[in-house]
Symmetry: C2
Subunit: 360 residues, 2 copies
């Protein structure tokens, strides 16, 4: 049987992680539930950097990264019911789970043991390695293909498919809403969505950052308050008043005092981590959790159900990603991942102008 | 105004923590809401040892410890409505909170910022240091005095006032009940209550211990299953099946692999610590919480409401502490705290025969 091929910008390994090469690659055979998508744009995620620079360990190279994909459904499999040909759709960081286990049946497919990532995953039947969104096309099971409401431009929708849902899911799963006081730690790509979503869900929303440098941005995003940890006794006036802290912090090293953050939580309040630094360890004494009986957790992406709910909220409230668009090319990908690695971004990148590379 | 005095067995400091001296001590003035209790017996808690041997830091010596107190209400203040003279009652580890803050008004008085311990706390108005239950009497605000149902012998009830409620509260606050799978880590004083209460609440109850040495005891307490961490791949068959783990572990050092325990939890399952080792740090990578989105927390004692519910459950289900009784004396207190320090106890001590020391 002839193998289907797409084109994409690939990296060959951590030693040359800033070099992208446009090549053909083999994609998995078209399945009954698959959707072929012609890609229009793709958000640039820290996961891309952690993957290609070796920070998250060995990967299958050569590899095309990118998992905040928006495009048009070009072709749908015979059993597809969720997506129509021609529809504008998105694909995020996950592209497979068994859909049969208890987790999958309870809208917890992001915690399925058989989950596969959108790029870099070895497809069990064929051994083919999945390739991401700096490509001409992507082939994805309909469960991980999400219709994008017409009101949301593609480059605005793209970063929501990973960064957005990663911030949205822990908010709704931990009760962010009217009458709740929520803090977002770190105002980066994840954090800026956290602020906008927490506010849109009706919570009193605060930002906690190192300094006041991003305070004005935070207010524009809708934050009700701002705390800078460089300020003396920054946490004291707010102790035991927060219901939820969603942390996007990616550095738990020098000067990171977890107990100061935890002291902000009301009884059984929650600290949920969505940042996954390359090397980091939280050091916790049970005594630090004791004064308020708080809980520490983490959250991984979000379910299809939540993805659709998120886009509905974005549609209804007119939420807009703060995104810098970059025309797709090998050179621009190289510059962009290096800027992201230096944290030179406010607050998200999206690669666009795919038609100039791959045709209309 | 004349000061009221009681008698008790005091320790003079960490250097001589195994030496007890029977002395008179001054108690706080009798308040409108206070209850004077003639003590019949008192459970021996690890908190006693951590306090007198200096493990929990500086204390106010000389000090009488003991906070699992059962006795008779001898006298009640003019505004007392919860307790009647002559009633058999208990006092646990907490003896004061403001009763006015949001925490207090929501049955979270154990998390009140103004809480005071039953022993070793400096009473704000007078500077008098509270003294514990190896004493003739204790004077306590009615909110922290709990009627003991007639069916429960005093020496059986005593250990429930700290160890019991410490295990009970996290079970009910985290949903232990029919259809839930619960593990208790460590079968000691706290753990043995955890097993009996989780079972009585209707949960499928497992014990996780280092070896199989206590497996027979666990089964007698009602455990449905038993896992020994010394067994190869002990956790593998049970991954992602537990809803709740209540950990009484007091050693997070060599060989303690937190991630192996966390892997047992289903999506958003919870690990709740109730053990408070003298020196311990849990090291957590957010990635360890990620495969199941689990939560880590701690729990501190339990509310008055929960204390009354616990004794109701004990009454209805005929739950019995596994307790070794020891006649009260300076010599026996010395032996008993040393045995507890060596963990030579199955599963709890209670000092009895108070009438032989203090009269009937």
């Amino acid at each position: 049987m002839a193998q289907d091929k797409f084109q994409g910008f690939q990296v060959d390994g951590p030693e040359t992680w800033t070099q992208f090469h446009l090549r053909e690659f083999v994609t998995k055979p078209f399945g009954d539930y698959d959707v072929d998508i012609k890609i229009e744009c793709c958000g640039v995620c820290s996961s891309d950097v952690h993957t290609i620079n070796g920070g998250w360990g060995p990967q299958h190279f050569p590899l095309t990264v990118g998992h905040e994909i928006v495009g048009r459904a070009l072709r749908v499999g015979p059993k597809v019911t969720l997506i129509k040909e021609g529809q504008r759709v998105g694909v995020g960081a996950q592209s497979y789970s068994c859909l049969e286990c208890r987790q999958c049946k309870n809208n917890n497919e992001t915690y399925c043991k058989k989950q596969l990532d959108t790029f870099g995953a070895v497809w069990p039947d064929t051994g083919i390695v999945s390739q991401g969104g700096y490509s001409s096309h992507v082939r994805t099971h309909e469960h991980w293909v999400f219709p994008i409401p017409d009101s949301i431009p593609s480059h605005i929708a793209a970063p929501m498919l990973c960064a957005g849902i990663t911030s949205y899911s822990p908010l709704v799963r931990n009760g962010a809403g009217p009458g709740k006081k929520v803090a977002i730690v770190g105002l980066g790509g994840l954090g800026h969505f956290g602020v906008m979503f927490a506010k849109a869900l009706g919570a009193e929303t605060w930002v906690i950052s190192r300094t006041h440098s991003k305070e004005e941005d935070a207010k524009k995003m809708g934050a009700d308050g701002f705390l800078a940890t460089a300020d003396k006794d920054w946490n004291v006036p707010h102790q035991m008043t927060f219901d939820l802290i969603v942390s996007t912090a990616n550095n738990f090293g020098d000067g990171f005092d977890l107990s100061a953050y935890l002291s902000l939580l009301d009884v059984h309040g929650r600290w949920i981590s969505v940042g996954f630094p390359e090397e980091a360890e939280l050091k916790i004494r049970p005594q630090d959790l004791n004064p308020n009986g708080c809980l520490i957790g983490a959250s991984h992406l979000g379910s299809r159900k939540e993805m659709l709910e998120m886009f509905k909220l974005v549609d209804e409230k007119g939420i807009r990603s703060w995104v810098e668009t970059v025309p797709l090319s090998a050179e621009n990908l190289s510059k962009t991942v290096q800027r992201l690695h230096k944290n030179d971004v406010r607050y998200r990148f999206a690669m666009v102008d795919y038609d100039k590379v791959f045709g209309a």
